[in-house]
């Protein structure tokens, strides 16, 4: 499955381990979150980068403790109409996580911009859609009324624009020009 990041298809540099798979010597590996919790004592000594694969019923506050040690968090959309991961993504960003946040599962272009706005930064997508359909989808709306969303160049928060004199400086996590 192509991996979409920063407006391009890239090669996934991560090794995704299951519940039983042996750890490699180093490199980038993701671990299912339940295993990460159980084996944290040994995993904390892993010489490479660690990522966690969550389910959309995991609680952000349970993940909070591990976030400073993670370089990738993977959140699934089992069906594109199952919107739980949007809220978990926002919570994880609000907890201060700045690393890669990856959406997997049933990802479609018409939900892509929402995912970017809540903080997803990479997307495991289906071969069905060419790169330009993602590039188009990422520009569907240039305005949002809600505050505190992730934005890219050319996107504006309506309320903050209207009240630029009172709006506080955007907090750093809003500014990262990473998504899509």
């Amino acid at each position: 499955m192509p991996l979409l990041k920063n407006n391009a298809f890239i090669t996934d540099s991560w090794l995704h381990l299951g519940a039983e798979d042996a750890l490699p010597e180093g490199g980038n590996v993701t671990i299912p979150f339940s295993r990460l919790k159980n084996e944290w004592e040994s995993l904390a000594k892993f010489p490479g980068q660690l990522g966690a694969v969550l389910s959309n019923t995991d609680h952000a506050e349970d993940v909070a403790h591990f976030l400073p040690h993670l370089a990738l968090v993977v959140l699934p959309f089992p069906a594109f109409v199952d919107g739980r991961a949007y809220s978990i993504a926002r919570q994880i960003r609000l907890l201060g996580y700045r690393g890669e946040l990856r959406a997997t599962g049933n990802i479609l272009p018409d939900q892509f911009q929402y995912m970017a706005q809540v903080g997803f930064s990479s997307f495991e997508v289906s071969e069905r859609f060419p790169l330009e359909s993602w590039q188009q989808a990422s520009k569907q709306m240039s305005l949002a009324y809600q505050r505190g969303l992730y934005r890219r160049v050319g996107e504006a928060e309506v309320w903050s624009e209207r009240h630029a004199d009172t709006a506080p400086e955007p907090t750093p996590w809003e500014e990262q020009p990473h998504a899509g």
Binding site: F80, G83, Y145, R147, G148, S160, T166
Partner: protein
């Protein structure tokens, strides 16, 4: 009235372009129907029994004359010359083509309207008191909060794929005309002992197959915190609302299953974690919006209008209409005109394009260019001089818009039922028509007094039968339509869910049954006692005897 600024205009234009692209991709086959479905629903487009149905948002039920004329234009150009006003203050068109929809959305955008989130598992059009800004009992106009929430909820990236639909209603008056206790979130403005105003936040009300009255999660929330607090409620719901069974997916089930206290604790914990601790922007935005809702330039008039009193003496028909269809305005010399969309034998909530244009013209001439759509499916001219009431009535009579049954037995709420809806198990419209014919004599209706009769054509309860003083639910029993009657429901500040009276009736028996119930009430009531209170005092027994006692 609220007016779009450059941002709002750009927003609806981009949204229209987005939908045009989505519809084209569907027509070309690039999108599957499963993928397109939630996208079209979030633009108000349903696939019904015979055609597509487009539901257009009328935020908090407020329309200008220009907007009403555009609705008439759409009815003529792309539908069959009429529209249907709904219980959530929207309008639906029943005969729409997918290919035309983007053009209709563009026509709406021209007059600062849209169909965003009138369907789908997202936050729906925010509704409010249809007499907002005019009612004599109002503490403050709730529409600025309605507009604030409209903007905040529009294309909310986090809350567009909720477990189920989500409805918010707002009232600024103690007499609740917005049914806030049977909404997913209900907001009620009130004053504390110090005279300050704040909002009671209620969660988990609803109808459908599991009717529930909302529970209060905050008694007195400062206005500037509304957005952040509701955001916390939405996040808790989005994370924990059930997704395994669509019939158990509304927030009321979550509140019920985990308990009000636990739910409240979850919301408060989420609220504590909110990213923006300051609310300066929300306060400024609310002030900006509120300026648009400044009262119109009312004239200084005497409370007593000799012309109005004289007209009532001269025209008995006008006197009756004035008695039933006018309501107290907060400003002396003014009145609220309630135009009934419930003529005898008509379809509740339907209006032709000619009727829409006439109401637009009357609003322009006599009501500071404003109209409202009400939750009970009528149209309101909110700011009318009593001196002008006769002229309005005279214009309404030939257009069949002067039925003097506002709030009476003929003022029935009904869903479209099996005549249009693909979910319905029985017809609603013919039942409504039969009842309105049964009570065609307005003397009889006036003698009975205020009563709310609500009809739903299936268990989803779009006709609000649970909260009708008299509720009628159409079901299917082995291929035959039959109708259950419930009594004692209310959607007002004294909200309650009605109780089933006994075995159901065949369609042709319903109107007679309603007549027996109301005859029994008239016989047993105390002086001045309205139906709902008489039922609460008497209980179901006398009504059961009247309906089911062996002949």
């Amino acid at each position: 009235m609220y007016r779009y600024d450059e941002f709002d205009h750009q927003f609806v234009q981009e949204r229209t372009a987005q939908f045009r692209d989505q519809a084209n991709r569907r027509l070309s086959g690039a999108l599957t129907e499963d993928e397109f479905r939630p996208l079209r629903l979030m633009n108000g487009l349903y696939l019904q029994l015979h055609a597509y149905m487009l539901r257009v948002a009328i935020p908090y039920g407020t329309l200008s004359s220009k907007q009403m004329r555009q609705l008439a234009y759409i009815a003529d150009k792309w539908d069959r010359g009429y529209g249907h006003f709904t219980t959530r203050q929207n309008i639906q068109y029943n005969w729409i083509k997918l290919e035309d929809t983007a053009d209709i959305l563009a026509a709406l955008a021209e007059v600062e309207m849209h169909a965003i989130q009138t369907s789908g598992n997202c936050i729906r059009n925010v509704t409010t008191d249809h007499w907002a800004g005019a009612a004599a009992d109002e503490i403050a106009d709730p529409r600025p909060v309605g507009e604030l929430l409209r903007q905040w909820s529009s294309l909310h990236p986090e809350f567009s794929y909720l477990p189920r639909k989500f409805k918010i209603a707002v009232t600024g008056a103690p007499n609740d005309r917005a049914a806030v206790k049977v909404h997913d979130i209900g907001l009620r403005l009130h004053r504390n002992d110090a005279g300050a105003i704040g909002w009671e936040v209620m969660v988990g009300g609803g109808q459908g197959r599991t009717p529930m009255i909302a529970v209060t999660v905050r008694d007195f929330l400062p206005e500037k915190e509304l957005v952040a607090y509701i955001e916390a409620i939405m996040r808790v719901y989005n994370l924990y609302g059930r997704r395994d069974n669509k019939f158990k997916a509304r927030i009321k089930i979550l509140v019920h299953e985990i308990g009000a206290e636990k739910f409240k604790a979850e919301v408060e914990a989420e609220y504590e974690r909110r990213p923006e601790q300051t609310t300066h922007v929300e306060e400024k935005e609310l002030q900006r919006i509120a300026a648009y809702f400044a009262p119109p330039a009312f004239e200084k008039l005497s409370r007593f209008s000799p012309a109005f009193e004289e007209a009532k003496l001269l025209h008995p028909g006008f006197a009756r209409w004035a008695r039933n269809n006018l309501a107290a305005h907060r400003v002396d010399g003014y009145t609220i005109v309630n135009i009934s969309l419930k003529p005898e034998g008509g379809i509740p909530g339907d209006a032709t394009s000619d009727q829409m244009r006439l109401m637009a013209e009357l609003a322009e001439r006599y009501s500071h260019d404003e109209l409202r759509v009400s939750h009970p499916q009528n149209i309101i001219l909110p700011h009318v001089k009593k001196d002008d009431a006769l002229a309005i009535w005279q214009a309404l009579v030939p257009a069949e818009l002067a039925t003097a049954n506002y709030g009476l037995a003929g003022d029935i709420i009904a869903c479209p039922g099996m005549d249009y809806c693909s979910l319905a198990t029985a017809r609603s419209i013919p039942i409504s028509q039969a009842i309105s014919r049964k009570f065609a004599d307005l003397d009889v209706q006036e003698k009975i007094g205020p009563v709310k009769i609500n009809i739903s054509g299936c268990i989803n309860a779009c006709g609000h039968h649970h909260v009708g003083h008299i509720g009628i639910l159409g079901l299917d029993k082995k291929g035959e339509e039959f109708y259950q009657i419930t009594l004692g429901g209310s959607s007002a500040e004294n909200a309650s869910i009605g109780s089933i009276l006994g075995p159901g009736f065949a369609g042709h028996e319903v109107a007679d049954a309603i007549e027996k119930i109301l005859t029994t009430y008239v016989k047993l009531r105390q002086p001045g006692e309205e139906f709902l209170y008489a039922y609460r005092r008497l209980g179901p027994q006398p009504f059961k005897e009247a309906l089911y006692a062996a002949a």
